[in-house]
Subunit: 312 residues, 2 copies
């Protein structure tokens, strides 16, 4: 029998909403839980809902000065800034002082950061570290609980693509991305799916704290390979848009020769890679400005040894 | 045989995109036609594509200071403004000087204003005047050309709901609203639908100018009755969201007793009216701030006598 891994009890958990102020499922859920926390409360554990970008929420925009979900690097989090500090940098420092400091033993154990996407990704868990046994076990538990509805796991562990997320200050960060939903809209079906993901996540932590041993497991994840931009003209304007065959096809195989983009004149750009890849974040509204039409991923299997709580 | 109505030839037509800067089908089409106008050019007729809110387009937001599609009233269009004038008021005056003046014989004959919605409305034509025989005939032609795909006609002729649209400066204004599409996103399927509507509209005007007589016709339209707001708490925040049974059900009957909204606790608000109505603009992102969850409409039949061009 494989050796079981001891892991300390989970004592402090945060649920972040409004990191992007126009992604409304998380905003609405977190605002609800701030008034009615019973649904996410669990014995022996602080579960703290928190609106991370209140000004962006108030204006129902993604951000005020800069994307909050890209500024949790050591330079931005230091106080060493000259001149006027962008709102989100100030806010990142504040969040880091409450839930971090990032990388320290004082940091929160788990942060679930709630996001929406205009892409047809369904419920998706975003994992930052392929070696984080605790989070892999949590993803496995959430996937099993969500079944038969799919719940993909996206691994963003890639030097060229990884970014300094808001949740990255926790010991175990996990992004929750649910779509399709237009930004600025709340759909009941998407809200329900996100609410279930959070419920299963806190259930998992409760059972873990109570002594449940989670056996060795493996999960299939989509590992980010590369961002793909739209075709653009010399001025940087779009010269092509997502081909109808690729639209809404997140997580489906994109094979060599398959269409990716189409121009106004009907000219098609096809995928010329050698291997089948799995697109995700296809036609996400917020990524036009980030020069990303979709991200290519490959399927990878991650394994985790069994875990149990060493505080029992 | 019913008397045919003489109508002057159509000489000046404008196609507006970007009245809301984040409704991207119209922005993308108009930008394309500014460079490659052949697709919409027709003999004997000026067809002028125009970006109405360039600053909002550049920032990919609905508007900069105020909604451009609400300020074409006589007060806003007059030059009698004290202090700093909002960007969209300036822009409205400029547009009125080029394509109007509103209500004058110098005004453009036809303006098609291109919009997107997050609601599942499909291709929709918005009509402002139930007596405008020429525009009713054009709607009929577009509907027949789009078949078997539906193309609804929304009549906004209602004192409490009608607003001073950008297109209202034309003799024959027509709104083109295509969805569902998240704001800030371009979908190929939605673009294709909007492009077809415009093509059929300019085809109609060409055939009319060339002497085709269009026989008497009738069309079924959805006439706006009332805006319905979300349930809200004392602070004005949403207390409920669109019920899953109503989501994506634009133009479908809403019968007395049918659910409209649901709260986080599962409490359902039902429709208590006496008559079946037909909701539209269900869960449109831009209407949260306008206190509108959807609009109730009723089905009405409009008739138009035959028309032919008196310049032949």
């Amino acid at each position: 029998m494989a050796a079981s891994r001891n892991h300390p009890a989970i004592r402090r958990v945060a649920i972040f909403g409004g990191t992007h102020g126009n992604e409304l499922s998380g905003v609405f859920l977190v605002k609800h839980w701030l008034k009615h926390g019973g649904e996410i409360a669990r014995p022996g554990m602080e579960v703290r809902p928190f609106i991370t970008n209140p000004k962006a929420v108030e204006k129902c925009v993604r951000y005020i000065d800069t994307d909050l979900n890209r500024v949790f690097d050591s330079q931005s989090l230091s106080n060493d800034h000259a001149g006027k500090v962008p709102y989100e940098i100030e806010q990142a420092q504040k969040i880091n002082s409450i839930f971090g400091p990032k990388g320290s033993t004082d940091a929160y154990d788990v942060i679930l950061d709630l996001h929406n996407t205009t892409a047809h990704m369904g419920a998706t868990l975003i994992l930052e570290n392929s070696k984080d046994v605790f989070t892999i076990q949590m993803c496995k538990y959430i996937q099993k609980s969500m079944a038969p509805e799919p719940c993909a796991v996206l691994l963003i562990e890639h030097p060229g693509v990884k970014y300094a997320t808001t949740r990255s200050i926790a010991k175990h960060p996990i992004g929750v991305e649910v779509g399709p939903q237009p930004h600025g809209v709340i759909r009941a079906d998407i809200l329900h799916r996100m609410r279930n993901v959070v419920k299963y996540a806190v259930d998992f932590m409760q059972y873990f704290n109570e002594g449940t041993e989670f056996p060795p497991c493996s999960i299939e994840v989509y590992k980010v390979l590369e961002k793909i931009d739209y075709p653009r003209n010399d001025s940087g304007d779009l010269a092509g848009i997502i081909h109808p065959n690729l639209q809404d096809q997140d997580w489906k195989p994109l094979n060599p020769g398959d269409p990716m983009f189409i121009t106004m004149d009907g000219k098609v750009t096809c995928y010329e890679g050698e291997n089948t890849v799995y697109p995700t974040f296809v036609n996400e509204a917020a990524y036009y400005e980030k020069n990303q039409a979709f991200a290519k991923t490959e399927k990878v299997t991650l394994t985790a040894q069994s875990i149990h709580c060493n505080s029992i």
